[in-house]
Amino acid sequence: MIELENLGFSYGEGEMLSDISLKLAPGSFHFLTGPSGSGKTTFLKLCYGALQPTAGHARLFDQDVRHMSRDDMAMTRRRIGVVHQDCQFLDHLPIADNVALPLTVSGRDSLEEVANLKELLDWVGLGKRASAYPPELSGGERQRAALARAVIMSPDVVLADEPTGNVDWDMSQRLLQLLIELNRMGKTIMIATHDLNLIRTAKSQVQARVLRIAGRRLQLAGADL
């Protein structure tokens, strides 16, 4: 699915990540922790091909990202749902159109898919906010909309970067439950967060592996959580 082998990444001369090896198994649940600036977001970007490793290999669905064409990369991204920290919406489109964007760009905006969209918006609790524009939504609503957009194509993997960073405790629990529900549907989940309480809550409900980036390397954490 997603396989990293001796992966390293540098921004210019400064090495950000080094010698990272990881294999995400189908249906697994991962947390990624580490202090701010440790490279969590960079790591996730390497996992969905937005960045290319400067050392080692990154394979997405058995294809080395270095040998993938731009079109192949676009097709692969349809299999990986991404929830960004800042959500990244098209502000001139209503939230329903934003959530449906992956369907639109892949030419799957049929009536049946539109019906699914309504169901999905209800699932994330935004059924009544479908026609609102992104700037009109609260932080929690935006995160839920981003999650809905990430899963609308029924991807194999969902990568979430600080999905609960801008929301209160109740909302973070709600978002976590949505991600746990997705994992129970067989999706592979990886959440980058520094919220240890969130991790503890999740670990009481699913079998989650906790990874930590420290000193540019990826370590298995868990005993202390």
Partner: protein
């Protein structure tokens, strides 16, 4: 079907969703519409100039190619005899369809623009002019000159070549100038639209990032921009063409007194020629935006 053909076909198919992924407003929209409109307006005039020059060149060529003038300067008492001799020589010259001495009134009318209508032409030693109309084959100019030299010593044959060629050349150059102007206008349109497209792509970097994030292929993103710019150029050029045609219609009609200037415009089927401007502007916009979009997208990580 090639990618280019698919892309071009997609321009005219309804795809509201892909249209909407790019924000609709911005100065680039107005710039594209305005530039296309202004350029189409100018192209109408360049076309009018080019077509009018072409008509003028062929008219001068046709009118002057088969006619010449014989000018007889002789003392008054010999004038009638020399004119008769010249007409006789011309009548027997192969290639001359018609030879006719201009009447006093006709000669007076020719001089009127310079000396006024009251010129006492009978009292002046004005040369007698003989108008010669040639057959399709034409006559042997050198042979005719030798015969006239022997029989009509005061005759000078002017076959118009001396001043017809520069006129035809000038008209030809004007026509070329018109086409060069059209080519420059097309190039300028392409440059402006490329700049506008680049600005739009730069301004929408966030949009492109989001589209890439959700799995949009570069072709899809490029299509959204190309379609928008092509349709803007088409609508701007259509408006510019209509305004240009209206302005040409308001020009004074062709008159002999006005010469070339009043003949600037279109005639007959020529009025249809400007209708190719909007599709051509759209094609220029299509190619310019597509090139810009592909370049910008390939440079983005």
């Amino acid at each position: 079907m090639s990618n280019l053909a698919i892309l071009f076909k997609s321009l005219f198919s309804s795809d509201n969703q892909s249209d909407r992924v790019v924000p609709p407003s911005g100065f680039t929209a107005r710039l594209t519409v305005f530039a296309s409109g202004a350029m189409a307006f100018l192209t109408v005039f360049a076309l009018a100039l080019s077509l009018a020059s072409g008509r003028l060149a062929s008219r001068w060529g046709d009118e002057l190619a088969h006619s010449s003038t014989l000018r007889i300067s002789a003392p008054a008492e010999q004038m009638a005899e020399q004119v008769q001799t010249a007409l006789r020589v011309l009548d027997t010259t192969p290639g001359v369809a018609l030879a006719r001495a201009l009447t006093a009134d006709e000669q007076k009318a020719l001089l009127a623009p310079w000396f006024g209508p009251d010129l006492p032409i009978d009292s002046l030693p004005v040369p007698q002019l003989i108008e010669i109309v040639e057959t399709e084959e034409g006559y042997d100019g050198a042979g005719l000159r030798l015969r006239l030299q022997a029989e009509v010593p005061g005759a000078v044959l002017d076959d118009h070549t001396r001043w017809r060629k520069p006129l035809e050349q000038a008209a030809g150059r004007l026509r070329l100038l018109g086409w060069v102007a059209i080519a420059l206008i097309a190039a300028t349109t392409a440059a402006i639209i490329t700049l506008a497209a680049n600005a739009a792509l730069a301004a929408n970097a966030q949009v492109i990032q989001v589209l890439r994030l959700v799995g949009a292929q570069d072709g899809y993103i490029a299509r959204a921009f190309v379609r928008r710019f092509t349709l803007r150029a088409l609508s701007g050029a259509a408006a510019g063409m209509v305004l240009g045609l209206g302005a040409v219609l308001l020009l004074p009609p062709a008159q002999d007194a006005g010469g070339f200037l009043t003949g600037l415009g279109f005639t007959g089927a020529g009025w249809l020629v400007p209708f190719v401007i909007p599709p051509l502007a759209a094609l220029v916009a299509f190619l310019a935006t597509r090139t810009a979009a592909n370049r910008v997208l390939s440079e983005l990580p």
